[in-house]
């Protein structure tokens, strides 16, 4: 028996996240736009077909469970990887990892956990090291300026990464340390004169 599936916006959003994630993977793999649309639409059709087959009203849990049962977006990466992944990694594990990630944190390009870029870490370290060196200002000043530059570069880089990079707080620490250094240096100069 066929029953109409009406999803509320939050459930539709879960499905959309999965489809967006799949489309990005296909784009990364160099799949043409027309084929991307076809594949994404085929997966969407399947999701609705499976929802139709479920008894009772769709809930968040049932939609999540359904998405977990599908191949993860990474399985579509390219034909070679697709077969290798299917052969070597247990289906449930792959699916659950992807579903959890894509649904809780938004879409990502791969299974890799987000990492902090080196430039953000550098900004934080330089900023912190520069503070005690305020007394020896010819040494502290370049470090502080370097921390500021690194922080300014790192923040938009993290923002544009769509979840692949994290650690914006490190860049912010570097920028705040630069600010503190600047204020501290002005105070020192004022009291010294």
């Amino acid at each position: 028996m066929t029953t109409a599936v009406s999803l509320d916006r939050s459930l539709q959003h879960l499905i959309d996240l999965r489809l967006d994630s799949l489309e990005r993977i296909l784009m990364d793999s160099g799949v043409s736009r027309a084929e991307r649309m076809e594949i994404v639409q085929a997966v969407e059709d399947q999701i609705f077909e499976m929802l139709e087959q479920q008894s009772g009203e769709a809930t968040r849990e049932s939609v999540l469970q359904l998405l977990r049962s599908l191949d993860p977006p990474e399985a579509y990466h390219n034909e070679d990887a697709r077969f290798d992944l299917l052969e070597r990694v247990p289906r449930r594990t792959r699916a659950s990892v992807t579903a959890e990630r894509s649904l809780s944190d938004g879409p990502r390009f791969s299974n890799m956990p987000p990492r902090a870029p080196g430039i953000a870490i550098t900004s934080m370290i330089l900023g912190i090291v520069s503070l005690p060196l305020m007394i020896i200002w010819p040494l502290g000043l370049p470090l502080s300026i370097a921390a500021f530059i690194c922080g300014i570069i790192a923040l938009p880089m993290i923002a544009r990464s769509q979840g692949r990079l994290c650690g914006s707080w490190m860049a912010i620490v570097g920028l705040v340390a630069f600010g503190l250094y600047f204020v501290g240096a002005v105070c020192l100069l004022y009291f010294a004169s």
Binding site: A4, A34, D45, F48, Y76, F83, L86
Partner: protein, 114 residues
């Protein structure tokens, strides 16, 4: 199953997915999920949607398949795929090749065993 045999099996499946998809469509039109389910049921080769849908998209792009959209009770319209004349020719050629290769290999194996 050892790792080496697992890799060989993967390679074997890789080469067969297109033939299997075309074979499913030989007797009539079907939509994507229906093809996946039929392959799971009949071919028992663990083809899943991530292996079948890209092949379907490629075959459609290369004009071996046509699609027909049918309104679905829920969600987007269902897309039924059907073999074109060139698709049917391709299937026949692939079936011939498959029969020839499998006969030779079967002969070789049995000869080796005997």
């Amino acid at each position: 199953m050892s790792l080496d045999v697992g890799i060989w099996r993967t390679e074997l499946r890789r080469g067969l997915v297109e033939l299997c998809v075309l074979a499913v469509l030989r007797d009539g039109e079907a939509y994507g999920y229906q093809i996946v389910e039929q392959l799971k049921r009949d071919a028992r080769m663990d083809f899943t949607e991530s292996t079948v849908y890209p092949v379907l998209a490629r075959l459609h792009r290369d004009k071996y398949l046509t699609e027909r959209r049918v309104r679905s009770a829920a969600g987007p319209p269902r897309r039924y795929f059907c073999l074109t004349e060139t698709g049917r020719q391709r299937l026949e050629e692939m079936v011939c090749q498959w029969n020839e290769v499998s006969d030779r290999i079967r002969h070789l194996i049995h000869k080796g065993v005997a």
